[in-house]
Amino acid sequence: MITIHIPLILRHLSDDAETFQVEGSTVGQCLEELVKAFPGMQASIFSKKGEIHHLIEIFLNSKTAHPDELRRPTVDGDEIHVVTLLSGG
């Protein structure tokens, strides 16, 4: 299983769940499973072109997965953090 950490800003879409467990062999597949479970996240995580939204950063095992996030291979036990970059002061 791969654990996806959901950012606080999107947790109202996951019934406040901080993490979600998925199966998938790439970051893209894992995130697809996430938005299948919580369709409301699609527009926040992905751009209209289906790429990662420019204010979302994906970390695989605490390291940035940029660029080519969606094609990064994942293995059992991996952790994906979906992070919304903040701009408030």
Binding site: E18, L55, S62, G88, G89
Partner: protein, 253 residues
């Protein structure tokens, strides 16, 4: 720059920290830090840098104090409503520590004035509330060759990262493209969040000045006040970044 008797008294408890000592305290006294924004992040950052004895603070804010600022912007009080934030910031900081110099400017930060606003500063605290101006500040830090202590908040969440020009990923490496003018809703925030992040930014500035510890370079620190967790993530300088291009392409910035 030797410390006066009153300064030795004032800073006694931090001079006792082995990594600071009188040598570190003298470095703090000689230092000048710019603070871009006297709002939610700028308030705790300025208060702690002032209390710690950073010799000169340069604070830039264009705004006027409004009642709606006061849940988080602890430099300002109800009685300051209608005053420029720069003025109320200077008043409270001078009262807190009359042994340092506090210069303030009521100005908007633009590409044309950053060199002048931050001239003489050894580092800049990014305490802004828009990504657009953060890009201007990031470019200014690159041009001046001084570190940028970044922080940002939203609700119970916050983040911090330190940028050392020519050495670590910059804000443009992180955000990749500027915010569009259209997507700037009023950002919700509870004061404790910028309280935490502004303090982290002040700690980074202090560590940079005294030259001790590990800075948040190539690391994005994230704070989740509801889960009450801190997590730091690895960030890479981005090849092709328009702000630190020459560095990421192997040259000198």
């Amino acid at each position: 720059m030797t410390l006066t008797k009153r300064e030795l008294q004032r800073y006694d408890r931090q001079i006792r920290i082995p990594q600071i000592g009188t040598e570190g305290q003298e470095k703090l006294k000689k230092a000048c830090i710019g603070i871009a924004g006297a709002g939610g992040l700028g308030s705790p950052a300025a208060l702690y840098l002032c209390a710690a004895g950073v010799g000169k603070l340069v604070i830039i804010d264009r705004d006027i104090v409004e009642t709606g600022n006061l849940n988080r912007q602890i430099l300002h009080s109800q009685a300051d409503e209608g005053k420029p934030k720069a003025v109320s910031a200077q008043e409270i900081l001078t009262r807190l520590n009359p042994d340092i110099r506090v210069e303030v400017r009521q100005a908007e930060i633009t590409p044309d004035n950053t060199a002048e606003l931050f001239s003489g500063c050894h580092g800049i605290v990014d305490a802004l509330d828009s990504l657009e101006t953060r890009y201007v500040l990031n470019q200014a830090a690159m041009d001046l060759g001084i570190p940028l202590f970044h922080g940002a908040v939203n609700g119970f969440e916050g983040q911090a990262m330190t940028v050392i020009p020519g050495q670590s990923a910059c804000l443009c490496c992180l955000y990749k493209e500027p915010e569009r003018k259209t997507d700037r809703p009023l950002i919700p925030v509870i004061g404790v969040t910028p309280g935490v992040i502004g303090s982290v930014q002040a700690a980074e500035a202090i560590k940079f000045i005294i030259g001790r510890g590990n800075l948040l370079t190539n690391r994005l620190l994230r704070y989740d006040g509801l889960a009450m967790t801190f997590h730091d993530f690895g960030i890479n300088p981005r090849p092709g970044c328009s702000h630190c291009r020459s560095f990421t392409e192997g040259g000198t910035p």
